[in-house]
Amino acid sequence: MGRVLNIAPVSRIEGHAKIAIHLDDDGNVAETFLHVQSLRGFEKFIEGRPAEEVPRIVNRICGICPWMHHLASNKAVDGAFGVTPTPVGYKLREMCQVMAHISDKILHFFFLAAPDFVLGPDADYSVRNVMGLVKAAPELARQVVRMRQLGQKMLEGFAGRAIHPVAGVVGGFAKPMIEEERKELLCGARELLDFSRYALDFAITDVFAKYMDAFSDLGGIKTGFLGMVDREDGSLRLYDGKLRLMKHDASFVDFEGDDYTEYLAEHVVPWGYSKMVYAKSWDEGFDMTLTAPRGIYRANTLARINVCDKISTPGAQAALEEFRSLFGRPAQQTLLYHYARLIELIYSCERTIEILEWPEITGSDVRAKVVPKAGRGVGLVEAPRGTLIHDYTTDENGCITSANMIVGTTHNIAPMNMSVKRAASALIKNGVYSEGILNQVEMAVRAYDP
């Protein structure tokens, strides 16, 4: 047995992981692992808590997408208590959720991923980062920081907190929106929409045009896809809808989140704390072999862009059409996650504006009457990192008796492992590797925004 290269920590991603590349005696890749390092036990320590408190506890699962956990949790508690949020409450939640997608996508693309493209994957690590970006492209960097901040400030101004929110409540929302707030938010959302169009153009000309060919196959694998679509017209949805599980040949099934255990299951490996979700309904088991994977699908931006029939807002729809004409459906190249991310960025801005222009958004009936009781509820949203599922059971006092969660990233753990193996095996030959090569292996992971 040859040596092991430990890329630890995997950096410029939003969680804790390391990559281990095991080389054989000839210096070729024998095996690779993406080890997920952290486990905290949220499912267990929310047991016994009054369910209405849980949305403000589980947001601490992730500080990058706290709104997603907050709202999936609220939806699950709605379900358990059998309440339907008021229409205004529903829309306020959705608006916050899509707005949270905006800052997240700007963060991921520009702060974390862009340094690889703008400075180059082989640039020295001391400059291949957002600080280097500031020096190499100061105007762009300032603009990016400002736009990300604008998104965060809008959320904070309206909902009190941007990180670890509290304003979503079982039955709806904690406060109505007043006209002044609406005007201010609209103003900000329009500015963000302009920026998102610019971001996609920038990426198409300065990033994809340069790197797509060189990296078209980096970490490339062939899998199915999972994402949320509108119940009626199959268009892209982030806050609410049915799930669509697509095979690599583009055939698909649609199902309601409540039935998730019939379609999805979680594989546990002894070498990582993260479970690996796979398509149980395909009845082929779980296998990460590169040549003949079984049960493997992907989630997150590329998946959603692949599974939806269309996008309900004009700018994003135009971008989707162009994307499909170039890459087909489903598109498989891993680096296209970035492209899909920027299409969703446009959708998120457009959808925010759409909601703000809804005449009743300033209505005062934001929360339905809530009576704690025994029940079960499954709450789903599309998080930046993939479909997020919270499943709670409550007792007659409305306290949690059991909880199960499938977190966005876990859908992509198996595919990421495969992409790492694919990238490492293609790049490392006969014991020859460099910092730049190892960074490219990481880039295959970074695309997934784990």
């Binding site: 950096s11 390092q37 009054p50 601490r60 001391s126 957002v130 009190g160 546990v268 929360r367 190892l438």
Partner: protein, 313 residues
């Protein structure tokens, strides 16, 4: 060249890091001029085992300022924290997880082994799954705040801390002065109208919205505790509003849940809250799930698994 700084996350959710990035326009000069980041996994690619992963011991470069977020939950966190202590002249614990355990320390109130087992045996996991043990850091017996394991020079709680205060702390250190940080409770910074007595002798669950006029600022709203909601403002360190303005949750018209930890570093939020309720004539037994009042400060041995009542002889 700025002052060298290293950042590390232990059992963190990354929210503290996002709060750091939310510093806003001052962020750019802060990370490019004031500070010289030498290690920060979220933002840059310095690796523990050399840039090609060939080393065997975990190394972090020397730095003047060290910032750690998250509590200490497993062996790797402990190794990283000790390495940070060794390499950084001034070590800051940032965020309530690092200072008081934070939400993950809710696990301290449970049987950890049984919980972990259950997590790998759910309605959706493959049958026969076991707790992973290969190449993953083994857990410690409980979740610790950073100062239970190494000496910490400065603490800034908050879940997450307020970005303005993070900036103030770092800039003050670089300028060699003491930072201006709020030392009072959330209530001290809250403009809600207080009349000095509670309307009811009980606290109610937050299943209905508070009473307020949306067109009016918070100063026109009656204190939430007086409205009968459990609001932890009295027993929670202020600062979530950056020192001025309305406490964050209160501005969303939602009661405080104590995310900045106790007012005094070693304060006990549960005891203080119950004492406070009792002395205001509010029945402390009306609080459902009292233990979750320790949801942000369960390290330092505060939160422990439940012991059942022993039968009387």
């Amino acid at each position: 060249m700025g002052v060298t700084a290293a950042m590390e996350w232990l059992g963190s959710c990354s929210g503290c890091e996002i709060a750091f990035l939310n510093i806003g326009e001052d962020l750019v000069p802060l990370i490019t001029e004031t500070l010289d980041l030498v290690h920060a996994p979220l933002l840059m690619d310095h690796k523990y085992f050399g840039q090609c992963g060939e080393g065997v011991t975990l190394e972090i470069p020397d730095a003047v300022i060290g910032i750690v977020t998250g509590g200490v939950n497993n062996r790797e966190h402990l190794t990283v924290l000790r390495q940070m202590r060794k390499k950084c002249r001034l070590l800051i614990a940032l965020g309530t997880c690092a200072t008081h355990g934070g939400i993950p320390a809710l696990m301290n109130g449970q049987d950890q082994q049984a919980s972990w087992q259950a997590i790998f045996k759910t309605v959706s996991t493959d049958p026969g799954a076991e707790i992973p043990e290969v190449e993953v850091p083994p857990p410690l017996d409980r979740v610790y705040a950073c100062d239970e394991k190494v000496k910490i020079d400065m603490q800034l709680p908050g879940c997450p801390p307020n970005p303005e205060l993070i900036a103030e702390l770092l800039v003050a250190i670089v300028e060699g002065r003491s930072p201006v940080l709020p030392g009072k409770s959330v209530c001290d910074t809250c403009p809600a109208r207080r009349e000095g007595r509670s309307v009811v002798g009980k606290v109610k669950r937050f299943i209905e919205n508070v009473e307020f006029d949306p067109g009016e600022p918070v100063s026109g709203m009656r204190c939430l505790l007086e409205q009968g909601f459990m609001c932890m403002g009295p027993v929670t360190a202020g600062g979530c509003n950056g020192g001025e303005g309305v406490p964050a949750c209160i501005s969303a018209r939602v009661p405080c849940r104590g995310c900045f930890g106790p007012v005094r570093k070693n304060g006990n939020q549960l005891l203080d809250m119950m004492n406070g309720l009792a002395s205001n004539g509010i029945d402390f037994k009306s609080v459902v799930d009292r233990r979750s009042i320790l949801r942000f400060s369960g390290a330092h041995g505060r939160l422990r698994p439940l012991k059942k009542r022993v039968a009387k002889e």
